[in-house]
Structures are given as C-alpha cells and as structure tokens.
C-alpha cells in the first residue's frame, strides 16, 4: 500500500489522472475497470482534456465493475450509462473497446477477464460507509467473485432518487458487482478519496482491522494498492500511517 495525500480535490484528480495516463500510453493492450460516481468527475475531465481526441490510446479497453439494470426496460444500465456520460462518450472511446458487465454475463465475467489478459488497473472510489464497487457492509463477503446481490431498502430508494427520477418501478430487486475475490485479482488497484465525509472510512481502511463490515478494508491486502486522497479525507490518519505509507524515496 502506498498513499499520496494532496492539498485538495483538484490536485487529487490531477495526480490520479497522471497515474491513469501512464496506463493509457503503454505500448501494449491495457484493461481498465473504471468507476462512476462523483469522486472521479474532475479526474475524467482531466483525462478527456489530456487525451484530446487522439486515438493513440485505442489499445486501451474499458470495463465497468458493477451494474444496476433499469427494470423492465431495454436501455443500458445505470453504471455504464454514467460512465458514457462522464468519460467514454466525450473521450470518444470506440464501442469495441467497451466491455460491459451486465445481468446477463456476470457469471462468465471473471472467465472473460482472464481470457482478455486480466485487469491491469481498477480505478475505484470509497464510500463513506467503507464500501467499494458494489461491495456493501452487510451484504458483501470477501470470498465473493462476480456476484448478484439484493437491491433494497435505503440503497434502492437512493438509486431511484438519483438515477431514475424517483421512479421506484424502475428499480430492480438486485444488482451485479465484482466482489472482493474478483477485484483483488486485478494486477493494480487505484483508490481515489476526497472530502471530510470519507475521513472515517479512509482511516478504517488504512489503520483498522480487515472486516467485512468495512469492505474496503480488504484492499490493503493487495500487493499493489495506490491510494490518492485529498487532505480533507486524510484528516483522521495518524502520524504513524502518514510516515509509513506516504510515497517516499527508497
């Protein structure tokens, strides 16, 4: 685990975009799983600006790592739709380079990823409750690979409100997500964290025990985890953590 702490959200976004750009400019096929949500908004803007329409990045393939379908509708799911808006469409990523996780293929997704050569990088955010991807306290088990989980209660309402104009009829009774087993199989992990409302969760992830109650606590067991956090989200970290994990010369 390595940690970069930046002054603010803009710097977090900028430095995270540098890390991703390193993957985009490699001279071989690269497989990236990327996150929707609010945290990566500026990171994607930086990437889109950096890429500037060049198709020299056409050897890069994109995957979503969770999905909520619109019940009874044939349109694409919530996550992939958001990824299109935030990044894939403005960055002009070709359809052949977009690989969708859906209700239909989730049981075969790990095998497909392996056939594609595995994920080179997973870009993820951190929930204030310690969730990552669709791995949520109370539902997630660390041994889950790609999995279908029930969608209900507050989360179902939140999805209806934020993604479906409040229409509970469109909310399905389940969602799919890469579980901890599948996420940890990626070669490299990048966790981006911003804002004081994430400070408790980040401290738990870095300093706390590994527990399914805080699903992201498992990520620190990965041999190549980079966390880029702004100072607000790093506010509850101990001096010892900062000294131990912040990038420094070897």
């Amino acid at each position: 685990m390595k940690l970069i702490v930046t002054d603010d959200y803009d710097d977090m976004s900028r430095i995270a975009s540098h890390h991703v750009l390193g993957y985009l400019t490699q001279n071989r096929r690269v497989n990236l799983a990327i996150t929707a949500g609010r945290t990566p908004v500026k990171l994607y803007e930086d990437l889109i600006s950096a890429i500037g329409g060049y198709d020299c990045y056409s050897h890069v393939h994109y995957y979503n790592f969770d999905e909520v379908a619109f019940k009874g509708q044939s349109r694409e799911g919530v996550t992939i739709s958001n990824l299109r808006k935030l990044f894939l469409s403005p960055a002009k990523i070709k359809e052949t380079n977009i690989h969708k996780l859906t209700d239909d293929n989730f049981l075969d997704f790990d095998r497909q990823l392996q056939q594609d050569g595995g994920l080179d990088l997973m870009l993820m955010g951190l929930g204030s409750d310690g969730h990552f991807c669709g791995n949520i306290p109370g539902l997630t088990r660390f041994h889950h690979s790609v999995v279908k989980l029930p969608l209900e209660g507050n989360i179902a309402e939140f999805i209806a409100l934020t993604e479906m104009n409040g229409d509970m009829q469109s909310v399905p009774d389940h969602y799919v997500t890469m579980g901890p087993m599948s996420v940890m199989a990626a070669k490299n992990l990048l966790l981006i964290v911003s804002g004081e409302n994430k400070a408790w969760a980040l401290a738990q992830v870095i300093e706390g025990e590994v527990t399914e109650q805080i699903p992201a606590s498992v990520l620190k067991l990965h041999p190549s985890l980079l966390i880029i956090a702004d100072s607000a989200s790093a506010a509850q970290l101990s001096a010892e953590s900062l000294q131990r994990y912040v990038q420094s010369p070897v």
Copy 2:
C-alpha cells in the same frame, strides 16, 4: 488463484521445485521467503540436486518468515536452524544471501524487505488447522504486518517436543512472524500442500469464506497465488473448484 493437482507427494515436490527453479534462474536479483516443516523436505532435496553446487544462483536471496528463539541461549532460532539443515547448508547458500527475521529486527523487517525490492516469491505450507507461516487461528488478525505473538499452550509444548528435546525451559513466551499484511505484499505466493490430513484445510482455503479462524483463507485474495497440492490433500475439493482453478489453456 491457480491450482495444480499432482498424483502424490513426490510429484508435488518435483513440480514445485520446477516453479522455484524458474525464480533461481532469472537474470536479476530475486528475493525468496521459504518455509521449514515437513512438506518441503523433498522439494528441497530436488532443488539441491538440481542446483548441484553451481553458484550461478548467487543472485538469489533467502528470508525466513517466522522465528522462535531458544530462550536464554545465544544460538540461532528454530526456523532458521531448520532451514539451514533442510536447504541452505546443503545448497551451499552464501551467508550474504541469507536474511534472518529475528526477535531483534522484526519491527524493521517490512521496511528492509521493501528496500531490498520486495519479495518475489513466498513458499509456504498449509497447516491442518488452516494456519500459514506463524498465522494461527485465534491469534492472527488479517491486518497484522510483521508481528510478535504469544507462544503458549499446546503449541509451546509441541515446539518443546519437536524442536527442543522436550525442554520447556528453552521455549520463549513469544514468537515472531510475517502477518497476513506482509505476506500478501509479496509479488507471488506458492502454497504447497500434501496429505489427507490437509484435505479439510485446503477445501476451506479454496472454497470457504475468508475468515481469521482459517488464516490461510485470505491467501485466495492474492492476485498471484499458485497452489500445488497432491491428490490426497485435494480429495475434498468439489468438481466445480477443480474445473475453475486447475491450470488450463487460456
């Protein structure tokens, strides 16, 4: 996670020795943490026979991953002594290539490993109770890095019996071990398993939940874990596990 199932102990040892030989013949510095115990005896014999005294392997560095000191004695600890007998001495490994974990340096061991470039491979066995290295049910927490733990009860007696001629006076009240955090930071893991008395533990590791009650269950979250098991130890694995994890063409 990949799994190779062999007919018997000899084949397990032979194929594991092939995997280790791949590291020994790389053309750069290689850092290996290796295990004592009964499981690797034949593997080490195969390696010693293969190496045959050539010092072309002198760029390979060896580390022990746990240690029990002899209380009140200045001699080397139990693990490093066993490693010398099993492998380091007959293989004529130079003293400069042997890096000892001890009571004195365990707090600095992770930093030293990082400075050395990190472990390229950890070779480990599996306990019938699901332990690995010194990570024991009831004591181990997944967030442990290199750690000092109490040595007492049955285990203390077992150590006295097997390693100290029954002399309980020589058994210290603690031991040191790389914890799950430190082990999972290695680039690659190799778990060797043999015998029907390991069959329950292996099934738990591969098919069960990730729980500190079966410490080795965490290993399946590593992106590069290879398990080489003989058929006796693989006897309780489901057909689904065998199909999913046994090495096969991509």
Copy 3:
C-alpha cells in the same frame, strides 16, 4: 546480458531446463519459440522427464521460428517435424498449443504473435558461424522481420543430406525465418551453447562488434538475454568477460 558457464553439456542442458521450467509453471498464458538442432536434445529430454505427462502446463504455447518446406510435398516442414520428434510429441503437447510458422503465414506471423501477447521466451542455439534461427552470415540484415530467404549452395546441400535423405529434389529454393527485428521483440532470450566448435562464435557474440557477418552478435543488445554455455564453448572468453557477465550477486 547474463552468462552461466557450466562444466559440460549435461549441466548446460539441466540448468537450461530449469530456466524453461520456470516459464512452464507460470500461472498465465506463456508463449515460447523453441529450437530444433542437436544442442537442445538433452534439454528436451530433461524437460520431458520433468513434465512427466502432467497437463498442468497446458497454458504454454509453442512456436517454431524458422521453417524449410519439403518441395512439392504436402507434409509438414523440416523444423516443425524435428520439434515434434524432439519434444512436442513425447511431451504430449496438444495440437491447439502448437503454432506453426510456414511459407503460407510468414508475412502475418509478427502480427499473430503480437495478438497472442508476444513471445515470453525464445530458446535458441548458436551456429559455429555465428548464425541464430535462420539468420545466416551473408543473407541476414538486422532490420529483417519474419522473412523469406533463398536456400542454396552448401546450406541447401546440407539440408538435403541431413533432413531429406540426400534428395535435392525435395529442397525448396527458399526458407522462412524470424529475422533479428522479430527475435529481438521477444520479452526474453535464452541462448544455449555447447562444444569447442562454438567457442569462436561465442567469443565473437559476447566480445566482438555487432555485425551482420556474425548475426548472433546482435543478441547482446537485448535487455534480457541469458546465455548458458558449457566450458568447452566458453573457452575463448576473456577473464574480463567472465567477470563482467557471469551471474553474480547484486
């Protein structure tokens, strides 16, 4: 460039087999281009003995790097036929894991290799005239990728004699080979050398200038070249070369 010097041919074969076994036991797809000829005979015997019929190596794919067709006959070419006899058949390699370079596909071979993920290792021998693969003094240019070259004169007669029962009618007027550009694109190179009749060529390769007159002299420009040579073939190397390139602790 790293160099391992062994006492004799048997040790050269054994240690080279260790290096190849490291690739065979990796837990991902591995692509190997392998050589026919006399030098690797014992290496293949060691590999076949080591593999022992286990199909845990079924993720390993094999390629030949040059080929001479039998003119006017529909049978397989000289190189792949020899590779089958020496290794592929006794090792029970599946047909799906054998990828043949032929007169028909040589123009597309580099693209195919790239699509397959590139070669992880090329195993090659050294000619007493400094040739490697089908890269022969007087014909080879360093900028050649996979190429068709004329087959004539002594070499045509030699092929007729050794591979075609002296029947010059079966010798085609050309052959195909991976040229230096294609060989150097592999991730790792292993050159095995045995016998005093190779001593002059090996000294040229390691100590001489880089010249198309000694095609293998280009190999030392590869960032990951391992040479395993027996003492007879290393007899003309200077003490300085031995000190500089022989494997040693970092």
Copy 4:
C-alpha cells in the same frame, strides 16, 4: 516498436509527458535517464506544471546519459547543468535523487545502474544526423557500453558556441556517453521527435537498415521502444510504416 504521431510539437510534448507521468506515479523506485536539448523543453514544462511541487514523486531517480566537462573548471558538466535548468531545479528534485554520469565514474556507471535495479525508462531525442545520446555517426559502435569518445571538429565548435560562450579553451578533447549496449539494456525506451529537419532521420530509423552510420537505427531492435513524433517529423514515413507501427487496438 510503437509509434504515436501527433499534430504538432505541443501535442508531442503533452503526450510524452503523459507517458513519463505514468512512471512518476508508480508505487516503487523508478530510475529514469533523461535528455537535455531543445526537443524536450515543452515536455519538461508540462511535467513541472503537472508535478506542481508535490514530493509524492520522491521515489523517482534521475540519471544523465552523456556529459561534456568544462575543461580546467571545477563546475558541473554541460548536460547535467542543462538538465538542472530545464527540469531538475524547477521541479525541485532532491539532490539524493540525482545520479550524475561524469568523466570520473563512467567506467563504473553500468555496474552502478545494475545495482540500482536498472533503468526503467530512457527518454531520448533524435539528431537530424541520426544520433541519439552521444552516439554519433562515425564514432559510435553498437557494442559500446558507457564510453569516452573524442570531441573535435564541428561538434567541438558547436559545443563551444552553444554551451560555452564561444570559448574553445573550455572545450575538452573528449566526452562520455552511454553507448548502444548500455542504452539497449534499459527496460523501456521513449524517443521524442519533432520538426521537419528530423524527418529524414526518423524515416531511416523506422524503415532503413540497422547501421552504425545512423546510430538510432539500432533502437528499433529494442522490445519496448515507443516513438512519439509530431507530423512534421513523420512526413517521410511510408503509409506501410504508419499502418504497421502506429498504436492501434490489438
């Protein structure tokens, strides 16, 4: 060999900076050899702006790959002085992360690089005569490792004029440079090219034979060479080269 062709110099600089940023944000020690000259000016500006004073990049170590001393003066050489002006000083790189090649240490430089873990990336420009680093037509031999070469004639006058205020008294009779053997030993190469005066040289490098008369022609034999060129410098490339080498989906 992969090729990215950009519209103009600014885009070349920007995309090259992305590639370098990928190295800067890796979570382990990274060793970079970097180039002085006019071509990288904007690239360094982009990097300095991107880095923005963060010392999260403090695990990155910098090396110069050639040097001309000021004769009879104790000041630092021409190359390292230029690198300080262009990048090292404004980027606030710590002195402990700067590793200087000089007249005094050039014979030990390869060994030191190997001890440091080898170069992860060499950033180089291309001369209109086909030179790279200090590897100049008429002087360079492909088998050169780090080497001292005579400095005379037009080049000596050019150095005096551009770097020493026209003072020929300060020009030494030699310079030191990493030769082709040492450069090719780096894990990855990045060649940046800009301007129509480089168009002939670039076409020779990509399409021509491998010859010491055009030293950079050897670079195409490296298994991981990325060329980023603006359209002016790529103007003489054939459609076939563009199709074959320009980054494209696998």
